[in-house]
Symmetry: C2
Subunit: 357 residues, 2 copies
């Protein structure tokens, strides 16, 4: 496999898959964008040169667009595949891809989270490697990379300066992704694939926990305190980072990855805006956890952290960790969302026994 590539195939034409066409195309690569069966309308508009319906912007002229039933055509001449579907869409898209794949082509995923496969919870890359080996045995190297870091798609599509991080055990995969750099898109690299993946998956969970504060103090009557609860929020932010670091180490990654772009950096943007933080805010205001989740789902706003919380709990259980001492904030959030189903001061109670580093 060469580090120098010409053509990139992106799978998934939603926010992220479409946004990343900008730096990849601007860095001089030829880009193919394939939409899933949910994206056919988007692809149709793009083919006609109209604005992308989610990004509200016309994509670069030289991007080639492919409908969901044209994956075979989309794959022609592709030197690397970038998967950018939702975590729910990952398994069906990856299985469809495998049926067409010859092997040897590197695959990089922007999809974050864990997957539920035959009743087991797996990291996405563990699942992908398992399926890859099922098809190719040990004859082909599993060229794989996981992308993380603080990247909001709409901002990237508007050339807001953005830093991302890719983890891969293969330096050639790191080099290829590094070649997507432009003035507004900076790529840092690490060989800690697992750390990037775990941090990326857990940041949604912790963003919910931290954002509960926003709801709790939202209506404070004490005027100097109006919207002033930064101490608490920061304490939870730091505890989140410590627990993400622990989880990275637990699952075979490196703890320090949680202190970098993939962990701290991504957590920072996830707390600042988006569905997970909005959901946390609703919890803090006393709403029922299940009802709030369902209401948002009906508005087509899937709270990814809610599902990651459930899956991660199951995954951590396999490692029989002591949640109380090792991941107390995770444990408390699980209680709030799935046991008590309501916020009633659990975070304040947690603080009374917490020892943050």
């Amino acid at each position: 496999m060469s580090d120098r590539i010409k053509r990139v195939l992106i799978l998934g034409a939603g926010f992220m898959g479409s946004a990343i066409t900008f730096p990849i195309s601007d860095s001089g690569k030829s880009v193919a964008l394939w939409g899933t069966w949910l994206d056919d309308n988007i692809i149709d508009r793009c083919k006609k040169g109209q604005k992308h319906s989610k990004l509200k912007k016309i994509l670069n002229k030289d991007v080639d667009f492919f409908f969901s039933n044209d994956m075979r055509k989309a794959l022609i001449d592709a030197d690397i595949i970038v998967i950018a579907v939702s975590s729910e869409g990952f398994i069906p898209v990856f299985e469809k891809l495998l049926t067409q794949l010859e092997g040897n082509i590197p695959i990089v995923t922007l999809t974050k989270g864990f997957v539920n496969f035959k009743g087991k919870v797996l990291r996405i890359s563990d699942y992908a490697e398992y399926k890859f080996r099922e098809k190719f045995g040990i004859d082909k190297p599993f060229y794989w990379g996981s992308v993380g870091g603080p990247v909001k798609a709409v901002e990237l599509s508007r050339y807001i300066p953005t830093a991302t991080i890719i983890g891969s055990r293969y330096v050639s995969v790191l080099n290829i992704f590094k070649s997507f750099e432009t003035g507004y898109y900076r790529v840092s690299t690490t060989n800690d694939t697992v750390g990037v993946e775990v941090s990326s998956a857990l940041k949604n969970v912790y963003a919910i926990a931290i954002s509960i504060c926003d709801g709790v103090y939202h209506n404070s009557k004490d005027s100097p305190l109006k919207d002033q609860y930064h101490n608490f929020k920061s304490a939870l932010f730091m505890q989140s980072i410590e627990e993400m670091a622990y989880a990275c180490g637990l699952l075979g990654g490196r703890m320090e990855t949680a202190y970098k772009l993939a962990g701290t950096g991504d957590l920072y943007v996830t707390v600042a805006s988006g569905r997970n933080s909005f959901y946390g805010r609703r919890l803090g205001m006393g709403e029922n956890a299940k009802l709030a989740y369902n209401e948002m789902l009906e508005e087509d706003k899937l709270v990814e952290g809610y599902n990651s919380l459930k899956l991660a709990k199951k995954l951590f259980n396999m490692y029989s960790i002591d949640f109380e001492s090792q991941m107390p904030l995770f444990n408390t959030l699980y209680d709030i969302v799935f046991i008590s189903k309501k916020y009633n001061g659990q975070l304040e109670d947690l603080m009374k026994k917490l020892h943050i580093k």
Copy 2:
């Protein structure tokens, strides 16, 4: 010196000195609060049982109050001294204290920043140790601690859950401060005094840099981009942490302290609110750096990061570091504030060459 103490003397009756009376008193210690010559009115009101004019709250009943000219009385029976004056007030208060001090009593400082002493820039603890030795020679141990972390005074005074960190080479000093813990005030400890001090001083500087984004995109006409520049802000946040870690190591502390409460945690709250971030926002909107600083000063809003930036530059120069490669964000901010005196895209330019970890 015993780890178990009864009475705490706090120097400085402004926001922080007064706020910290709450956990110390609530943890069962007897508290003496001494006001500087700028605090006489505050002390007068407190003695009469009136609300503290800055915190807008009556302090605990059992706190003893002392006017600036009563330092000798205030020192009676004190087992530990907590300095909580502004960085500008540190030298005069410490020199006054030294004239009264017998030695052997531990001193802990909440004051953050660097001091300008006889034309040299020093870390506060280096200055204090120098003066202490001048008086006591090597006959007495220099029991010293530096306190940092994400603590807004008003919030602490309202029992918002708060986590703080103390650095000291003496475990007895750490134990004493740890004994101030209450349900709403959590104390973590480290022997990295220098790291706590350096992180605490630099976070004001970096909060200015990060907050420039708020001004730049404030008036964005592109509607999906309104207030959406989290990618950029997070990239700068992460670069700030990396540079704070570098500075900790440079000045004899430990890099990892910057990734904990003293660095990342304190930076998080400082970006979220306060004078330094407000000043950064004004820079981002294109205001002249010197004029904006002076205007805020006239409104009695001293931008501490502005002064720390100037002092830190002088300090780092002594270590002849290569700013371009080792502290590029610091260097860029210095350019914006003291050379160009105006923001005109320097941060976007920096991003084009930045490699964040």
